[in-house]
Point group: C2
Chain length 209, copies 2
């Protein structure tokens, strides 16, 4: 099968509207079979030279979770200190991670040294390996939402400290820290818009050469 | 609407199977209304701090197209020179871009200096802005394929030279060069697999901490 119906095309558009960065999770568990099914979207992702450089670390132990949470709390306090006045007041009210609630948490790394793909397509732009990992995460994001799950991407972290504290090979770089679970609520409006931090543009910046 | 049917979930899986890096295009044009419809997937993409840092440059003039093609040809020759023996012989047979045929071509940049989002989420990982652009491209990739279009992502380019030659602001960094059009053929197997360059893994590397 390689052609898709109008209904599917419209639903895909709806899915992209509903796919949101989720920070508020219920604490009930996610079925492992459902999670595994969603994770197949990683193996189907495009990757530069077929290098498939994604490496996933699930954080299950209280120690690993505490390390990651402490990293976030430190960096979030530092980020808050970088704002002044009203912006600082607003920032302090934002909930920017679901790390204290999300039942499934994983750190996603890029193996910068993989021999897979023999470097094809990554000579002048080695960042293509990390971009391949991002593409896989994006597919996973859409797939989880299609099954009713929510995902949040936390980036307020010291990536080198987390890599060291989780005992990760040095040639792996942190791309994302993902919180996954059943969302408390569902909305097609970004929380940063609801909270008054920023609004979405209604047009796309395109120029021609 | 925020829940999706089993049929939709299965079709989304199929879409991810069929979404391929396309390098062989028919030369007939792409309807502008269809292209605009697919491009809405950019405006629906997640972005760090709602920074929406994507900037699109469509290459329409023969001069801009020739500049990009020459850049690719130079870097592809250099890449070939980096392989020896059988790998070099195989590399020289690969078609790695559709730049000579694809009716629509666009370079996608990240505005590293955007004030939008006020830096939220990008203090310790400024690469999150580029990752947001990659997420938008991935959504666009899926949406074009859902409409039967093919897309190819060319990364065998000198990004700084292309940025200079297209007269792009210095604070924008090249994330992707995209070729878009009607694919000559359709397959769920990557061309790099068919050609014998690399094979896909059938499992996902996951560890637990």
């Amino acid at each position: 099968m390689s052609s898709f119906s109008n209904d599917f095309q419209n639903n895909l558009h709806d899915l992209m509207c509903w796919r949101r960065d989720v920070r508020r999770f219920r604490t009930d568990p996610v079925d492992e079979a459902l999670l595994a099914q969603c994770l197949t979207s990683f193996t189907l992702a495009p990757s530069v030279g077929l290098s498939e450089p994604w490496r996933i670390i699930r954080l299950e132990s209280p120690r690993a979770r505490a390390t990651a949470l402490e990293n976030y709390q430190t960096e979030n306090a530092r980020a808050l200190a970088g704002y002044d006045g009203e912006k600082a007041a607003l920032y302090s009210t934002l909930k920017l991670s679901g790390m204290q609630d999300a039942p499934v948490q994983m750190a996603v790394f890029c193996d910068e040294s993989t021999a897979k793909g023999a470097g094809l397509g990554a000579a002048t732009m080695p960042e293509m390996r990390r971009y391949s990992v991002v593409a896989a995460i994006t597919q996973f994001w859409l797939m989880t939402r299609a099954h009713g799950l929510g995902m949040g991407w936390v980036s307020i972290l010291d990536p080198l400290a987390l890599t060291r504290d989780l005992n990760i090979p040095e040639c792996w770089s942190l791309v994302a820290y993902l919180c996954i679970g059943w969302p408390e609520t569902s909305s097609d409006t970004p929380e940063l818009e609801t909270s008054g931090w920023e609004i979405r543009r209604d047009s796309l910046p395109i120029e021609t050469r």
